[in-house]
Every structure is written in C-alpha cells, then in structure tokens.
C-alpha cells in the first residue's frame, strides 16, 4: 500500500492517468445515478435493481458484438429495449409497491435484481465480457511518462454529455418532462391538475431503465460486464444520490466524477482486490457524514 503511494509520488503522471480514468468512468456513473435520483424523487421508490439495468444494457452491446455488429449501434437498441422493459417492470411490479412504504420497494427491487442477475447468468453464462469497440488507443507524453487514453473512453464521455444534456432538455422543455417535475413536487396536486400520474410514474421508471441501458452499453465497451456486477453499480448510484441529494443535477454530476476518481485511486493504492471495498467504504463514509450533518440539527437521516 505504501509502495503504491510512493509510486504515485515518484511518477506523478500515473496520478493524471487515474484522474482521467476516474472522470471517464464517473461520467457513466452519473447517468445511472441520475436515473435513480429521478425515480427516487418522483415516485419515492428506491430502486435496488438499478445496477442490473445497467448490466442488462451492457449485454445488449455485447450480444450484438458477437454477431459482428459494432457495439455502438447497440446504443439506440438498448435504450428502446430497456425503455420497454422498464415499462413492463413498472406495470407488473413497481405500480403495486409505489403506494407502500419504502422498505417494500427496496425489497421488491432487490428480488427483481436477483431474478435479472440469475436470468442473465442462465442466458449468457457467468464469464466476464467486454464488447470490443476496436477504436485505437492513444498515448500522450506527459511529465516524463506517458498516459494512455483509449479513444472509446473519450467518445463515451462525449456520449454521456450528450445524453445527459438531452435528458435535462427533455425534463425542462417537453410536456412529459413538465408533468414529471410537477408530480415530483406534489403527487396529489398534480393529479388534481389533470396529470395522469400513473402514466407519469410508468414513464419515469421506463426512462430510468433506458438511461441505465445507455450507461450499460458504454460500460460494456470501456470496462467489463458480468451478471453479478450489478450490485456494485446499484451501490454506486446510492452513494452518489445519498451524497448529492435528488433534484440536483450538478451535485449528482460532481459526486459521480468524484466517486469515479476516488474509486480509481482506491483501487490503485489499496490494490485491485479492494476496489469494490472502496465503493462500499465510500457508501458507509457518506452515510456517516450525512448523519453528522443531520445530527447538528438533531435529525435522523431518513
């Protein structure tokens, strides 16, 4: 551990490499986390199957790449496919737990997560998969060393920005976006004003699944996917949303990039086997920090 720290001091370009990787990965985390914040804020459902949606999206890309189709083309397919899937999940499961208390939605989505994990495992096997994009990798000399930037990471970062911008514009300008925002403010008032909240809920959940699907396609190209990696993605989303609060896109973005960077550094300094532990450790730290914050005003985190 100290050796690795020392290495960072001797070779500062490694730090730049980690920082860049963290930002590229963090941008994708932001997508999934924004989806969670949306669902949480609008319908008060804590979606623990968030990570599984991401992994499902990844399998779209990987599956298409096994047929020789470039995984980039999987992006629209995954978005549409996951939108449909999200709608079905809402109609069959989520619509029945929206009215109930929070633990119900948490546990129901945890059950859903298990079903999706195992379904993917049965369908595609437990191997770790990568969707090869075939884009070149560039090396940039810096401070006596050189850092490598895969072109695909850069493109995926751009796609993230475009997608996030698109979602924000949609929420601000479109009729449905307005309805979603109104519902998140006050469900009853929105109902009184003639908004079909049931439809808004279904749309929000499906939109969340679609965003996660897009994130998954990018993850499968710049990182790895495996049926059981979903839970870490779910926890990441929870860390980010807990740290940033919902309805706060700038906060979600900063927290995501921060988490991505911390995770890269944690994995490097503590060793790769503790990278997952870093994510979970961040969750505990954020929760403790929130408690300290709330304690000052004599409140519990709820």
């Amino acid at each position: 551990m100290l050796d690795n720290l020392n290495l960072l001091v001797i070779a500062p370009y490694l730090g730049v490499q980690l920082l860049l990787d963290g930002i590229f990965i963090g941008a994708i985390f932001a997508l999934a986390a924004y989806g969670l914040a949306l669902v949480w804020g609008v319908m008060n459902v804590k979606n623990l199957s968030q990570g599984e949606f991401v992994i499902m999206g990844g399998y779209f890309a990987w599956y298409m790449s096994t047929y020789g189709i470039h995984p980039m083309y999987a992006l629209p397919v995954a978005v549409i496919g996951m939108f449909g899937f999200g709608w079905v999940v809402y109609k069959t499961i989520i619509s029945r737990v929206v009215e109930k208390d929070m633990f119900t939605s948490l546990l129901a989505t945890f059950g859903l997560a298990i079903v999706i994990q195992q379904g993917l495992n049965l369908a595609f096997g437990p191997e770790v998969q990568v969707a090869e994009s075939g884009f070149p990798t560039h090396t940039i000399p810096i401070w006596g060393g050189e850092i490598t930037v895969a072109a695909i990471r850069f493109y995926s970062f751009l796609i993230c920005c475009v997608l996030a911008g698109g979602v924000v514009a949609f929420m601000k300008k479109s009729r449905m976006g307005q309805a979603i925002r109104a519902t998140s403010q006050d469900v009853r008032a929105a109902k009184v004003m003639g908004i079909d909240t049931e439809k808004v809920f279904a749309f929000t959940y499906a939109l969340n699944a679609a965003i996660c699907g897009a994130a998954g396609v990018l993850i499968s190209m710049i990182w790895v996917i495996q049926p059981f990696y979903g839970i870490t993605h779910s926890i990441r989303s929870f860390v980010i949303v807990t740290a940033a609060g919902f309805g706060n896109l700038a906060g979600v973005l900063m927290a995501s990039l921060g988490l991505g960077v911390v995770e890269q550094y944690g994995g490097f300094i503590l060793g790769a086997e503790l990278q997952q532990a870093t994510v979970v450790g961040m969750l505990l730290l954020v929760l403790i920090w929130r408690q300290v914050q709330m304690n000052r005003v004599r409140q519990a985190v709820q």
Binding site: M102, F110, G111, L112, V115, A277, L284, R290, N295
Partner: protein
C-alpha cells in the same frame, strides 16, 4: 411514513399479540418432537434439518429488528460471518498460532486432540456470541442515526464491506479461507453433535425472544417501531434500546455462525461467511413470508421457505435462484402481512386479540406489515 405509523399506533392500542397459550404449547411441543425425531426418522437429512433450525434462528433474530422494532436490516448476515470467524480463530488460536495455521491452509502438523476440539468449540461459540454482540454495540453508534431505506442500505453496505475486507486480511486466510479443525470421530457423530447444538440454539432463541417480547423491553421496541419520536418523547432511551435489540440478534447469529462454520468444515469470506444475497436475504424473506412482528411467523416462514428452497433446488436445478427471487417479489407485492399476519387479521380471537363486534371492524386492520 406517517400514514403507516398511524396504523401501527392503533394496532398497538389493542394490546400485545399472543397466540393462546394452549395452542402455543401444542405447536411448540410438536416442533420439539419433530426436532428430536427428525434425525432419527430421516438420518440422511440430518444436515438439512440442522440447517432448518439455523434458518428458524435467522428469521427469529431478523424479526427482533425488522418486525418488532421496525428497523429493516439487510446486513444482519454480518454477525453470522463475524461469529463464524471469531469461533474459528478461537478454536485454532487456543492451541496454535493462527497465522501459521492459515498460511498453510491447515495442512501440515496441526492435530487437535478430542479434548482440545471440544474445548475449542465451547470457548469459540461463547466468544462468537459475545464478540458479535460487542460488534453490534460498536456498529450501533454508526448505523442507528439512519432510518428507513438508509438503514437498510447502510447495513447492506456493512455486510458487503466486511466480506471484502476479510477477504483481504491475510492473517485469517484472506480469500482462501480457513479449514476448520476436524471433528474427532465419525461423520455421523459429527452431524448429530452439531444437529443437537443447532436445535438447542434455535429453541433457546425462541424461548428467549418469547420472554423478551413479554417484558417492558418488548413494549419499548414496539413503541420505537410505531413512532420513534413519540417513544423518545415518552422517555424511552431509544438508542440504548435499539443497541440492545441489535446486540441480542447478534448474540444468537454469532452462535449460528460458529455452528455453521464447524458444520461445513471450511469457511471462506464471500460464499460461506458473509453470503449477503443468499442467507442474508433469506432471513428477510422468511420473516416476511411467515409474518413479521409475530413470534410464530418467522418460525413458520423459515420452515416453509426451507422446504420450498430444497424442493426448487431439487426440481428446478439451474432455475432455483430465479424461482426464489420471484417468490420474494410475489410475497412482497401480494402477501405482505405474511401467513401469521393474515391469520391474525382473519381470526383475531386465536391470538387473544379482542375485537368489539359493535365497533366498525378496524382495529387490527393492517397486521404487522408496515
């Protein structure tokens, strides 16, 4: 949350729920009879029935927090794993050096005489129980400022983190685990020995909780479930009660962990000691299936769940997990009050709950599901 807690407040007004004592003792006698005759009638299933008793213990201990106190933990499995590791370290460490033992995975010149083995198990189980309780007290400082979903996620994170950290801790064997000391005797002897211990542990848990829920402490944790702020205003030291409740469930889970580690003979952090998505979620599912917030619910739920689980393992091999996930979802969506909760709603008389026929039937409306 307010609407839900109001329901519970009215429910608490109807008095404490209890099975009629005669029914109680009949069912209890039946269970004990099954416990004694089980391994004699079905000697091939001794291990399975022993695990069944552990499942009963899991569901009961989860229900202390989730059912009676309204704190839904997803990470109680942490104490199971902690107990398992404490027990293993004590069993090995009493007679030899733990680091040396784990570094060669128990191979080499490590022999335990029968006396050493039994002393090790006895001391190990006590240490596991006490150690887990102490961990619960220590962690209580961290997690009890969290409510609702944050508590669930926080405890889940705790269990996941524990698995990862133990996996990176070389002294206790890291990811490759610890082989437990070998039982001095035949395989059958081993399975009966641990069967008896599991059975006694489950029965002891049941008796203790039954007593605990009838005391003032039981009322206090129910008050915390119904409305924590009001309970606090009434002078209940909520943090202390919550910590004690958690320590109680950790105490028994620690024993269960020590027993299970010895039964399987090999412990390892991710699959055996901290299996968050298997045992960790099973204990929640079992308590919900039977009906949380009741004393018989978790017992019934655990027995049913275990049979369903074994059946799916046998007949839907490959699909067992999908089936189990589906059961959890269906249970949560359609049958949230659980079996005993439903019975309680339907036949409140059986449970000693008096419903005034003239009043609009309202009192035990929602059952313990919250």
């Amino acid at each position: 949350m307010t609407a839900v807690t109001d329901d519970n407040a009215t429910e608490a007004g109807t008095g404490r729920r209890r099975l009629m004592s005669r029914n109680d003792s009949f069912i209890f006698a039946g269970l004990v009879l099954f416990g004694i005759l089980g391994p004699i009638l079905f000697p091939n299933y001794t291990f399975q029935i022993a695990v069944l008793w552990l499942m009963v213990l899991f569901a009961l201990t989860w229900d202390i927090m989730g059912g009676q106190m309204g704190y839904n933990s997803l990470g109680n499995i942490f104490f199971f794993g902690a107990g398992m590791y404490i027990c293993a370290v004590v069993q090995v460490g009493l007679f030899t050096d733990v680091g040396a033992y784990t570094s060669v995975s128990g191979q080499g010149d490590f022999r335990f005489t029968p006396d050493q083995y039994y002393i090790g198990v006895a001391v190990g189980l006590v240490a596991a129980a006490i150690g887990s309780s102490l961990l619960a007290v220590a962690l209580g400082w961290i997690v009890f400022g969290l409510r609702g979903p944050y508590f669930a996620i926080g405890t889940l994170g705790m269990a996941l983190a524990a698995g990862e950290l133990v996996g990176a801790w070389g002294w206790v064997g890291g990811g490759s685990g610890i082989p437990m000391p070998v039982y001095p005797g035949s395989g059958d002897g081993k399975s009966y020995f641990f069967y008896v211990l599991c059975f006694v542990a489950a029965i002891a848990t049941f008796m203790f909780l039954k007593w605990l829920y009838s005391t003032r402490f039981g009322l206090a944790i129910n008050a915390i479930r119904d409305d924590e702020d009001k309970a606090q205003a009434m002078g209940i030291h909520t943090l202390r009660h919550k910590t004690v409740a958690w320590a109680v469930s950790a105490f028994f889970l620690g024993i269960a962990g020590g027993l299970f580690g010895n039964m399987t003979g090999f412990i390892e952090p991710l699959e055996v000691a901290f299996p968050t998505v298997t045992f960790g979620i099973f204990m929640v599912a079992m308590a919900l299936l039977g009906g949380k917030g009741t004393i018989w619910g978790p017992v019934l739920g655990a027995i049913l769940f275990h049979f369903v689980k074994e059946a799916t393992w046998t007949y839907f091999l490959g699909w067992q997990w999908v089936t189990l996930g589906a059961i959890i979802i269906l249970n949560i969506i359609y049958f949230q009050q659980g079996i005993v909760g439903w019975l309680q709603e339907k036949y409140p008389g059986w449970f000693g709950i008096e419903v005034d026929a003239r009043a609009p039937a309202k009192a035990p409306s929602k059952g313990p599901a919250q």
